[in-house]
């Protein structure tokens, strides 16, 4: 499932981006313009709910962001170099707030993998939901 963009009222951060199953496939230029990102919520609770019924060896995931509007590659040997990496352990909701905003002058693009290394290419075994509030 690709990221869904919803425009809401508000001058500060009027864009809500939700990716219900964030994975190694990059979501590119999700706001369609330049702006600033103010909040990222990473929901990895799916892993806990299904841990007894599905193979789930993941211990954490990493949401990786790059300021680029095109030619973004998620994981793998040719992965784009992320300029912001946020760690989230499995089975929790982890929220990051950037009070002044994380400015992107080209475009907001991101992907999610289970290893910290840039070349990491494994998507989370179970769904990871990434919610972003941005301008």
């Amino acid at each position: 499932m690709s990221a869904v963009l919803t425009n809401v009222l508000g001058d500060l951060a009027g864009k809500l981006i939700i990716d219900e199953d964030a994975d190694t496939t990059a979501e590119t230029h999700v706001t369609g313009t330049t702006g600033s990102m103010y909040m990222v919520q990473i929901d990895t609770r799916e892993g806990t709910a299904n841990i007894l019924t599905e193979a789930n060896a993941d211990t954490a995931c990493y949401v990786k962001f790059v300021d680029a509007s095109s030619n973004v590659t998620g994981g793998g040997g040719s992965s784009s170099t992320p300029s912001l990496v946020l760690y989230a352990p499995m089975g929790k909701i982890t929220t990051y707030v950037i009070s002044g905003g994380w400015a992107f002058s080209n475009g907001l693009s991101f992907w999610t993998v289970t290893t910290a290394a840039t070349a990491g290419d494994d998507s989370p075994t179970l769904d990871v939901k990434v919610t972003i509030i941005s301008s």
Binding site: A60, Y62, T81, P82, S83, L84, V85, L86, Y87, A88, P89, I93, T94, T95, Y96, V97, I98, S99, G100, W102, A103, T115, A116, A117, T118, G120
Partner: protein, 123 residues
């Protein structure tokens, strides 16, 4: 310059760590063990961007360790990353590079009165 880590009162587990001029030299096991990361403030008055890299590990090597967190801050900017509720860690090893790429081992290119200050709050 090295990090200075200070504990508050024994009644709380909070610690604050400050580095008035962070470099590519890795500060290993910043808080002396596990804890919860609450915030990272970067005051960058250098004329180049800086990337604060943190490994959830007792040790790390700038230029080869894949950081668990990369917090970026543009030139001449102050960014504060806050984690409401916190995120648990086993240990924090912290360093800074001028470039985001994992293999970069470049220390921030400060000159004159330029500084890159980092303040980290943990629980």
């Amino acid at each position: 310059m090295a990090f200075v880590t200070t504990k508050f009162d024994d009644a709380t587990s909070f610690k604050i760590a400050h580095n008035a001029q962070i470099t590519n030299s890795v500060t290993k096991n910043l808080t002396g063990g596990p804890g919860v990361l609450h915030s990272v403030k970067i005051e960058n008055n250098n004329n180049a961007a800086v990337f604060i890299k943190i490994a959830n590990a007792f040790t790390a090597t700038s230029g080869s360790t894949a950081p668990d967190w990369i917090f970026s801050c543009p030139a001449s900017s102050t960014y504060t990353y806050e984690v409401p509720g916190g995120v648990q860690f086993d240990a924090l090893s912290v360093w800074a590079n001028e470039n985001a790429v994992e293999s970069d081992n470049t220390t921030p290119s400060v000159s004159g009165n330029e500084t890159v200050k980092v303040t980290i709050v943990t629980g």
